[in-house]
């Protein structure tokens, strides 16, 4: 009896989970990046392949617990025909194939993000994370970022990056903002660096997540395909304000973007 109940419970649970996945009760937001479809396809393929294994595994477990309760001696014991060999072969072949397929396809998706060099014409933006805010820096008309001086960083004077506009000519026209704006359909190259702890740059819709590592500068690049306003959240534990460390990314059409940049430059 408990075996049969167990079987029923397992089947119900499995079906409920399958329903939630198939019906997209909780689901990823629509992707807005060029590389995103690769990742989504990869997730869906994994959901399919691993999902079948999951359902098969749970159902086999349910079936066996249903069938092989104590017969009080009315049924003779059997063991699985062929012993462990078919199981081992099954595991090696099925999981082996799954692994091969996933890592083959997966490496393409990963490669599309990380192994392709950034487009030389990319819009370059410098991103700094700190407890508990992101700041963004555009190079200005000269196209050059001025050097950073950690000792000059000051919340009070709003010198978030530690720029020395008096001595570094490249810094003079740098535009520092608290929100990120990028042009649509244009490759964007971000350079991530942190002023204090580990943080992370995560935009779900862009399918981009990359940690900031203090001490090193990490480049990431992507191209957004839709305009709109999306959330940037910090996903690496960085201290008490971690939960509230966020900013917004606006994907703008080229004219809007140019306007926005002008406004920001005027506000410096």
């Amino acid at each position: 009896m408990p075996g049969k109940v167990f079987a029923v419970v397992v089947v119900i649970v499995t079906l409920a989970i399958a329903y939630c996945v198939i019906a997209h009760v909780w689901w990823m937001p629509v992707d807005i990046s060029v590389h995103g479809p690769n990742i989504d396809r990869q997730i869906e393929e994994t959901l399919f392949g691993a999902g079948i294994l999951f359902i098969a595994g749970q159902l086999v477990l349910a079936a066996f617990s249903f069938l092989y309760g104590d017969s009080k001696g009315t049924r003779k014991m059997k063991s699985f025909p062929g012993g462990a060999k078919p199981l081992i072969i099954f595991a090696c072949v099925v999981v082996g194939i799954e692994i091969l397929v996933l890592s083959f396809v997966g490496s393409k998706a990963w490669g599309s993000v990380y192994f392709t060099p950034p487009d030389p014409s990319s819009v370059r933006i410098d991103v700094q994370a700190g407890q508990f805010a992101f700041y963004f820096r555009y190079p200005g008309p000269d196209g050059k970022f001025g050097p950073l001086h950690p000792e000059l960083i000051s919340e009070g004077t709003q010198n978030f990056f530690g720029l020395d506009t008096d001595h570094d000519p490249d810094s003079k026209d740098d535009i520092v903002t608290a929100q990120l704006a990028i042009p649509v359909n244009k490759p964007v190259l971000l350079t991530l660096h942190s002023k204090d702890m580990g943080h992370s740059f995560d935009v779900r819709e862009l399918r981009v997540q990359q940690d900031f590592v203090p001490g090193i500068v990490i480049p990431i690049h992507f191209t957004a395909t839709q305009t709109g306003r999306f959330e940037i959240v910090c996903t690496q534990l960085c201290g008490l304000g971690h939960y509230n460390m966020k900013a917004y990314i606006q994907v703008l059409s080229q004219p809007d973007y140019d306007n926005w940049l002008k406004q920001q430059a005027a506000m410096q």
């Binding site: 075996g3 419970v9 397992v10 649970v13 989970i17 939630c20 909780w26 990869q42 997730i43 994994t46 691993a50 999951f54 749970q58 086999v60 477990l61 066996f64 617990s65 092989y68 104590d70 014991m77 059997k78 063991s79 699985f80 462990a84 199981l87 081992i88 099954f90 595991a91 999981v95 692994i99 996933l102 890592s103 997966g106 990963w110 993000v113 990380y114 000792e151 960083i153 919340e155 009070g156 204090d196 702890m197 580990g198 995560d202 997540q209 990359q210 590592v213 203090p214 001490g215 090193i216 990490i218 959330e231 996903t235 534990l237 960085c238 008490l240 971690h242 939960y243 509230n244 966020k246």
Partner: protein, 588 residues
């Protein structure tokens, strides 16, 4: 026979006096019970912490009873501050992962059972064994002490990533003495685990009784033995990592802290270190650690299941043992899968992804062995057996999540979401806990000489099983939306709509916790009022069932055990004890 027992009793009297007998005892059975009790206490502390977290997540303004008294700073009026939420989370992870699941299934049951399984009178180094427990205990006290210092416990998570964990009080509340105590506590835990592992290895190799060949070792003992090797290497890396972390904090070094960090507009005096070095060292330990948690679980299930299916495991002792050994070995080459988006070279991500996927093969083999051993059985659905079945189901669910996370491209979306939280609660949190429950219900008669109540046990199982799915499968699915972990409140725009889901999870989690009190009641009640246990209540074959319940001080009352059979000689009602001279019935 009788004569020998009397003879032994006369000359081999157990130590007298409460302290020597129950506190500073060198008897492996007492130490095993001490570890198990420590695990139980940790489980309920950890659970209380998870309750506080869950309540705060669902009702951010709710006042949580007792919390305001425990920490007037951290939870003024009982409402945790964001930093105190992180402290609760850190200590929840630390206590659960280290002091419950590394301690109880391995050091707890292992200490009690391993010497008996191999037919020895005690561990190879009994005094070292006692030292292991007391060092662990001091570590535990230090960890708990962080709640009582003004700043409270550290907030950098159980992974204690540098520089947050390394730069000292400037990083936030709890990062002062809280983090120091945490580092020392874990360092002590490492020392104790190393001593324990050494003891397990030597005992298994050296103290096996006549006839106890490797092929006749009970599978739980195999698991503990393999696991001892994994612990030996893994904790030997965490120990220096903790020491270096403490040096960075107290000695002014910069192993894990790069130059030019600015906190509160001040440049920190450190230079030249690398946060990634910490991550590499931590995960070189951390990944094996999660298998250190699951291998004893495998062993317990492999040990308990044949007793109730009344037939040997498919593939005998070999397949499951080789699978466990393969998992143990491979666990040392996959650590980078925790660091796919950490800034490590993307090529390294590919390099770590492949062995991570490969390690699923022995895991799948193990699961298949468990599942297909049910085929054609005459299962007795006692509570331990139900927990074994639950274990298989939960481990499949948790392990499947591994397929997703193991691929860098997929992980770059799912990393640090509640999908990961769901994954590791299914694998580590709950399937390992279910195996621990199976072991507990199974061995309770041997450890305390009384039977546990079956009805309460079954209620405990059914409620736990269903509620675990409600809590942690929902967390998985919620992770698909990108819901971020380690957030004390859901203020991000896209997470606000998840609040109802969150409330559902919290309610289920509260019920799940409440269910554990049925277990606690059962334990305490059965300990004093349960029916006396027979020597071999489950009709099992291994040596622990070949002695009284509980066993005498020298385990076998002076008998020299000789082993003739493997541990899985079952055929329905018929079974052959390992020490029996009868003919084998299962061909092992």
């Amino acid at each position: 026979m009788h004569d020998m027992t009397a003879h032994a009793a006369a000359h081999h009297a157990p130590p007298q006096g409460f302290i020597r007998k129950y506190v500073f005892s060198v008897d492996h059975k007492v130490i095993g019970i001490q570890y198990t009790t420590l695990g139980l206490v940790s489980a309920f502390i950890g659970m209380a912490l998870s309750w506080a977290m869950r309540i705060h997540l669902a009702w951010p303004a709710a006042s949580i009873p007792f919390l305001g008294t425990l920490s007037p700073n951290g939870a003024p009026g009982g409402v945790p501050t964001p930093e105190y939420y992180l402290s609760l989370m850190t200590m929840h992870g630390t206590i659960m992962a280290f002091f419950l699941l590394t301690a109880a299934p391995m050091a707890g049951y292992g200490n009690f059972m391993l010497p008996i399984h191999v037919g020895a009178a005690d561990m190879a180094f009994p005094r070292l064994n006692m030292a292991s427990f007391w060092v662990t205990f001091v570590g535990f006290v230090l960890a708990c002490a962080t709640f009582f210092i003004p700043d409270g416990p550290p907030l950098s998570g159980w992974t204690a990533y540098a520089p947050l964990s390394a730069v000292g009080p400037v990083a936030g509340p709890g990062q002062g003495w809280g983090q120091n105590l945490w580092g020392l506590s874990i360092a002590l835990f490492c020392v104790a685990s190393l001593l324990g592992a050494l003891n397990f290895i030597v005992t298994t190799i050296d103290l096996r009784t006549k006839g106890m060949t490797l092929s006749r070792l009970p599978l739980a003992t195999w698991a503990w033995f393999i696991n001892a090797w994994v612990s030996l290497l893994a904790f030997a890396v965490l120990l220096p990592t903790c020491l270096l972390l403490v040096l960075d904090r107290l000695g002014g070094t910069s192993f894990f802290i790069p130059g030019g960090l600015v906190v509160n507009d001040k440049v920190l005096p450190h230079s030249g270190g690398s946060p990634l070095l910490f991550q590499h060292l931590f995960w070189f330990f951390g990944h094996p650690e999660v298998y250190i948690i699951i291998l004893p679980a495998f062993g317990i299930v492999a040990h308990v299941m044949p007793t109730f299916t009344r037939k040997p495991l498919v593939g005998g002792w070999k397949v499951i043992t080789y699978a466990m050994a393969a998992i143990g070995g491979l666990s040392f080459v996959v650590w980078g899968h925790h660091m796919f988006v950490s800034g490590m070279s993307p090529y390294m991500a590919m390099v770590f992804s492949v062995p991570t996927l490969i390690i699923t093969i022995p895991s799948v083999i193990a699961v298949l062995v468990f599942a297909f051993s049910l085929y054609g059985a005459n299962m007795r659905f006692s509570t331990p057996m139900l927990f074994c079945l639950g274990f298989i189901s939960l481990f499949i669910s948790g392990g499947i999540g591994g397929f997703f996370l193991a691929q860098p491209a997929v992980d770059s979306y799912l990393h640090a979401t509640s999908f990961v939280v769901g994954h590791f609660h299914f694998t580590m949190g709950l399937s390992a806990v279910f195996a621990a429950f199976a072991g507990f219900y199974y061995w309770f008669p041997k450890m305390w000489g009384r039977m546990m109540n079956e009805t309460l046990g079954k209620i405990h199982f059914w409620l736990s099983f269903v509620l675990v799915y409600c809590v942690f499968m929902t967390l998985h699915l919620m992770g698909l939306t990108g819901s971020v972990r380690r957030y004390s409140q859901f203020v991000a725009d896209f997470m606000v709509p998840l609040t109802p889901t969150n409330k559902f999870i919290t309610i289920a989690a509260l019920l799940l916790g409440a269910t554990q009190f049925i277990f606690l009641f059962n334990v305490i009640w059965s300990r004093f009022k349960g029916p006396k246990a027979a020597d071999n209540p489950w009709h099992a074959t291994t040596l622990e069932w070949d002695t009284t319940s509980p066993p005498p001080f020298d385990n076998f009352g002076g008998r020299q055990m000789t082993v003739y059979h493997g541990p899985m000689e079952y055929d329905g009602d018929a079974f052959v004890m390992q020490t029996s001279t009868e003919k084998s019935i299962a061909g092992t």
